[in-house]
């Protein structure tokens, strides 16, 4: 372990406890330790750290950051590293890392880093702004599910109309197996999470604070229930306080973890518009629920409809239509011609039987496509009821 915070045995034990699936391979272990340290050094979205880690690996980047190595810095300039060092080094405290790990261990919070099976590949669209690690309370595997997910977000100062719509959408979409992602805030976020829980749908809450700190405090019980039935996810380590910056960066994660973002109610300057714009920047579909023009709580939604590529959505089916576009886009990127993507779906469908169950690897071979890509398309077909899944594998629905 590098720097002045070489992991103690106790810390290594704690890390092993919060990342039980971690490989025994010493290199992988040191890389994971370095990610934990980085998680403490940076504010979310630090693209210099992101580029440095991408170029040198987390451990190598850390050595460069503490100034111990003068290796090639990739595309990061020496000035950037020196400036970064000034904001990172004041946070380099072994005790803080130890305490965060101990808190995580006590609270049953898991560490997930790139390479883990639970790591959500969707966040790689954030490039240098992608998180370096995620802290997850609950079912971390939910993050890497190939099925499309929907973010339902909106104003804290929601009206009863907004609450009602958020619940209807979340219950309907969640009920059809689509994970509901949101920010656990009062208002729309809370309504979406609650409705998902009510229909036993997977739901994911992204926090601006550490995963151990329920925020808002009034949602401590709700977050507890989300952790039991879904996942509470934070980018900052345990103990971190929610700050304005972290809220904005949390919004980018909500957008990145979802295949479509739906804004139910939003004031003219609502933070949900920030989430929507992150989604648009990522080429993800954005839906806006209209409301009365006399309601200030819908002004932000109307603004999205007027000023951005947001689509007017008025029911869950229309959100599913968004997924059909947005979900596929995540494989190909927003600028690709959509036809090849449709072709991919056709190839997966051709590789399925309506009678016998087939495993993903078998389907991938028949389709001549990567298994991960096939799995993603199967997830989509499941939602669209074009495919069925059992413990024996997949088959095509007879009705389609």
């Amino acid at each position: 372990m590098t720097g002045s915070i070489a992991f103690t045995t106790e810390m290594s034990d704690l890390l092993a406890a919060v990342a039980p699936a971690a490989a025994a391979d010493p290199d992988a272990r040191r890389e994971r330790e370095a990610r934990v340290v980085w998680s403490h050094l940076v504010e979310p979205g630090d693209s210099v750290a992101g580029r440095l880690v991408a170029a040198l690996g987390a451990e190598g980047a850390l050595e460069a950051a503490v100034g111990r190595s003068r290796v090639d810095l990739g595309d990061v300039s020496l000035e950037e590293v020196e400036e970064g060092r000034r904001r990172w080094m004041p946070r380099l405290r072994r005790q803080a890392v130890h305490d965060a790990l101990a808190t995580a261990e006590r609270a049953g919070i898991r560490l997930v880093v790139p390479g883990d099976a639970e790591w959500p590949s969707r966040v790689s669209d954030l490039d240098a702004h992608a998180p370096l690690a995620l802290w997850v309370r609950g079912e971390a595997a939910l993050l890497a599910r190939p099925q499309p997910s929907v973010a339902i977000v909106g104003a804290r100062a929601a009206t009863s109309y907004g609450d009602h719509v958020a619940m209807e959408l979340a219950a309907d979409l969640g009920g059809s197996g689509i994970p509901i992602v949101s920010g656990a805030a009062y208002g729309i976020d809370g309504a979406a999470h609650r409705a998902a829980l009510a229909v036993d749908a997977p739901t994911v809450a992204l926090l601006a604070s550490g995963a151990d700190r329920p925020y808002p405090a009034g949602h401590a019980d709700l977050l507890e229930r989300i952790a039991r039935n879904g996942a509470v996810v934070a980018e900052s380590p345990c103990g971190a306080a929610p700050t304005k910056w972290r809220f904005l960066q949390r919004n980018r994660l909500i957008a990145a973890l979802s295949d479509a973002t739906v804004v139910v109610e939003a004031g003219w300057r609502s933070g949900s518009l920030n989430t929507a714009h992150h989604a648009l920047d990522l080429g993800r579909a954005v839906g806006a629920v209209p409301g009365a023009i006399t309601s200030a709580a819908s002004a932000g939604c109307h603004r999205l409809l007027r000023e951005s590529g947001a689509v007017c959505v008025t029911n869950a089916d229309e959100v599913r239509e968004l997924l059909d576009l947005g979900g596929l886009c995540t494989f190909g990127g927003p600028d690709d011609d959509p036809d090849p993507l449709t072709d991919d779906t056709t190839r997966v469908r051709d590789a399925l039987s309506t009678r016998s169950w087939r495993e993903v690897d078998d389907i991938a071979r028949r389709a001549g496509m990567a298994p991960q890509h096939v799995e993603a398309i199967l997830g989509l077909m499941l939602i669209m009821r074009d495919a069925e899944q059992s413990r024996l594998g997949w088959r095509r629905s007879r009705t389609t």
Copy 2:
């Protein structure tokens, strides 16, 4: 006069009374008489009649229709004329024409045909589907005003929300000098007309019946007030009953007479969507006012936002923005590059002085543009408060 309904002296006197500005020129008089007859023969939007009149003039087309001439029929085929003749000839009754003229004369209804100063050039965008004549009760000159006008239309079964919004928009837009066009129906239409009247704004009602027949009957007083302060316009001659077909064709005229159409509330299959689609077909701007997704009366508006090029509008300023686009489009057509149009506005602005008043012809000469085109742009600049008008002419606003 052709056919079996050569105008009697009494009919010619009646015609002179309902079209006082008509030229004494015998050719022009016979052409006008033929238009009156055509107005009785066709249902609105008869494109065979439209093309025949375009090719041969109204009188020549009538001779061809009664089978008296075997002239070149332009781009109309003999089969089309023969088929047209079967639907036109049963209506060829002198008494009907006489009665309609007598009713028009009694009710103070004016006949307006192409070539009259009052003829609205905007309807020429309808090509072969353009009306052959218009019957106007009230201020016919309103139709040919160069200023942009806005159609405010919507559901008969409006909610109090829709009524409120229609009134707010009509009062604000009408109050800034923009004529409000609508269909005089119960609900949104009526609210728009009433609000325009309340702020002394010009307002135009398009009827599916003859201009003498108030429809709906419950709006007889409202139509009376519109006629006194604006114009009540019909394509079918006096005495004509409102039919389903005429309502649909009336909708095309609402769209054609307006530079933008705003749908305030509309059910999923509302007739207002028909008006909106006519406007879109004509390349005119269409605005849709959003509402609660729980309100069936807004479902058609949301459908427009999802399925067509309608723009989400939430206040009068946003409708004025539509005019900036839609109004200019009427000069250039929807497929033209918008830049030259903006250039035209720049040229008109350059030709204006901020100090001295200039007449349109003078401005047109300075701008090197057609006076009619200049007048249209000046009308737009007046609305946008970029220009001012007095009896001495026009000048640029000092504030811009």
